[in-house]
Symmetry: C2
């Protein structure tokens, strides 16, 4: 009789796990239980759907459900809301259209994703208060935008998702106010980089920093957004983008060990502390290669990769996930901003004797059209051990440049190595010295001792 | 009395050496002897000057001569043509405006660059036959273009310089024929990639492969371009782009050891085999990190870096150049094409048990505007040792992506490591799996054994 792999969650991690398991073992019974009625959507694309840069929501799907069911033979079930695990009996108990149901498993993958961390304020459940994390909710907001019902919006949270949403709404002609409890935008960047981002955001929308949401009150004319330390705003819609919490409750309640941020702890093969139970995606902590410690980084690439590893291993294959280095990139209006490794703030908090070296280079040969400034910050120890980097530039100039630093962190290269790298050069694409190399020249110990 | 550093050549390597030496030792007497009357020009920009993408030739200068002389205190002399070295007496003998002259040196840096390898055919010295390697010659061709005197051009050589020039001339409305002795364009790429490039070139200009230049004959109506194995062409101008030879004669005649292609042999600190004589730039061989052997790669980044190392060491500092991995990128009309490490052909010729794995990914999330195909070829051993990579795509999509492979080669990462890299992702800039990772999944040994 075929063994059964049950996967809880039909997001990127869950569907990656299902597909990987199918590749390893074509005879395996692979069941995906998804609480909603959508699978394999690229949630990172939702801001671009709001902006109408992506006209149709279904464009965000990796594959349609029929493809998983028919071409890949995956038993993908919608509206199947898992309520409880019984690890001793290897059972999942779930609510489906037919009432309560039970499935036994040989192997289980928890890919429950993450849920928005909502501020506990009055009015947060108003139906014009949104989080852009789900397909149905995003479709509802998009319909309001398309119908011309959104003139004013307040976005709570100035992290990268909040700024993507602010840009999307602004591009639809909405008057946007961004509200952030911290004293700066993008607190996962160092000040000097975040200030560049803040200036760009202020060119397009209103920004209120150090301001906490107190209450939302429905009025005739809209929603009164009551703020701590700032005058109230009136908005037609409010979008909450104050981060996410790992969907670890199902596993934790069944006894799985959790770590930072309450996310599930897994080994490099995505095993939880419960036998035959794996976990992947935004509900787990992964290894941070720079610190060597578990970290909660709910981003798409790790969700896909950990899902693939969990599915491979659960199906009897061998795979492991070495971890992340904390790479992220975001488009903020005309700017692009990237980071990898640790910021200076993070490195100091981790106890490193860390320093930052900044340099401004060019994206192309200085004489070539569209050559623009690229600001690089390297974070490193005084003896040239690389800890991280940040970059800010225009257009497409940053996203793939930060990858040079990401690979360097994976490989343990030092600041001196960066200066020597044989990176691609041609006047239309790059200057003879990449911006990251100018920063490396300034940072490397040998130059310091020679000067 | 101040010690004297003499540098032969005012190109990228020579001026990098001069500036680096000045930083290390502010009291050093730094003399640069340049045969022409230009210094520190970015020769890679010449095709864009022809195309009028760069209107003024002086935009290609890193700095004007006065800057080197006044701000950096470098004795930069033009029209100073070095004829002979006397290593025993530490003298350079040169022709200057005043006749023959002699300078003694404490340290000498040879940065003589490279010269075009001209086919030995009749008519090659016609004044409408150009090589795009020098400022004055390029200015003369540009003036002919600006005056509308160039309707038809033949470009001999379909390497990256030949194709850049073909594109530049075509963009000026010139009817271009590209002639190449080898059976394909860009013989430094594998067939599968070169064919994509060839198709793009053929969309814009005529291409004749496997066709050797036999003679150039001046007629009333233009230059008759006589070809082996192809009908003749008539052209108003002919541009020769059949590669370069290292300018190693000065050093070699004085007894400096040479290696592949006749280029000067240097150690990692740019020392030649003659005491107190260093060399840098397009006249030297450098270490190829993948093969561990000396290689002749006359490209801008290595010229700048080796110049910097030679100048630093000659002035008493410590520096070394670990070598290159063979990275190059070029814009060819709408395409961009990059390479690093070894091609499959090169790897097999080097004796590696090499394989190639091809994959086609996307430049951005598939639903995001301007998402386009990126073809990646990985070259690797069967057990996953990375030897090189090639990429072809549109616009800016390739140049900085090839750097991921370049860094991986520097660091000795394997194919399996590539699949695990935490590379930047955001829908406007990248898909969740980079094209290089799709190729890595297909190539890595663990997947092979599992399937």
């Amino acid at each position: 009789m075929a063994k059964r792999l049950v996967i809880v969650g039909g997001g990127a991690a869950g569907m990656s796990a299902a597909s990987a398991a199918r590749r390893v073992d074509p005879d395996l019974d692979v069941v995906v239980l998804e609480a909603g009625s959508h699978a394999a959507y690229g949630l990172c694309g939702l801001p671009y759907f709001l902006a109408n840069v992506v006209p149709e929501i279904d464009s965000l799907r990796a594959y349609p459900p029929e493809y998983f069911r028919e071409a890949r033979g995956i038993d993908l079930r919608f509206e199947a809301d898992v309520l409880r695990l019984d690890p001793a009996r290897q059972e999942v108990h779930f609510q489906s259209g037919d009432g309560l149901d039970v499935l036994t498993y040989d192997k289980l993958v928890l890919a429950c994703g993450a849920t928005p961390a909502l501020p506990p304020v009055p009015g947060i459940d108003d139906d014009h208060v949104f989080t852009i994390r789900r397909v149905d909710e995003s479709s509802r907001l998009r319909a309001l935008l398309d119908a011309g019902h959104v003139g004013r919006a307040t976005v709570v949270g100035a992290g990268y998702i909040g700024l993507e949403i602010a840009e999307a709404l602004s591009s639809r002609g909405v008057e946007v106010t961004v509200v952030e409890a911290l004293p700066r935008v993008m607190s996962n960047l160092d000040d000097v980089i975040a200030e560049r981002v803040e200036a760009e955001v202020r060119r397009h929308v209103e920004v209120r920093l150090g301001t906490r949401l107190r209450a939302l009150t429905r009025q005739e004319t809209g929603i009164d957004v009551d703020l701590d330390g700032s005058t109230p705003v009136v908005a037609d819609v409010v979008v909450i983008a104050t981060g996410v919490r790992p969907g670890s409750a199902l596993g934790a309640t069944a006894g799985a060990a959790t770590g930072p941020h309450g996310a599930l702890m897994v080994d490099a093969s995505m095993r939880t502390s419960i036998p035959n139970v794996y976990a992947a995606g935004d509900c787990v902590n992964v290894n941070h290669i720079v610190t060597g410690r578990p970290t909660f980084v709910p981003l798409g690439p790790a969700a896909n990769k950990t899902g693939r590893v969990a599915g491979t291993v659960a199906a009897g294959g061998a795979a492991y996930f070495p971890g992340v280095v904390g790479t992220a990139v975001v488009k903020v209006f005309e700017l692009s901003v990237g980071r990898t490794g640790l910021t200076l703030d993070e490195a100091l908090a981790e106890g490193f004797d860390a320093h930052a070296t900044d340099a401004v280079g060019r994206s192309r040969a200085k004489y070539y059209p569209r050559s623009a400034a690229v600001h690089v910050r390297l974070v490193h120890t005084v003896d040239g051990h690389l800890l991280g980097g940040q970059m800010v530039g225009t257009g497409d100039d940053v996203a793939k440049r930060i990858d040079v630093l990401a690979v360097s962190l994976h490989a343990g290269l030092g600041v001196s190595d960066l200066a020597d790298l044989d990176l691609s050069y041609a006047p239309p694409f790059a200057p003879v010295y990449e911006p990251v190399q100018l920063a490396a020249f300034a940072a490397r110990p040998s130059v310091r001792s020679a000067s």
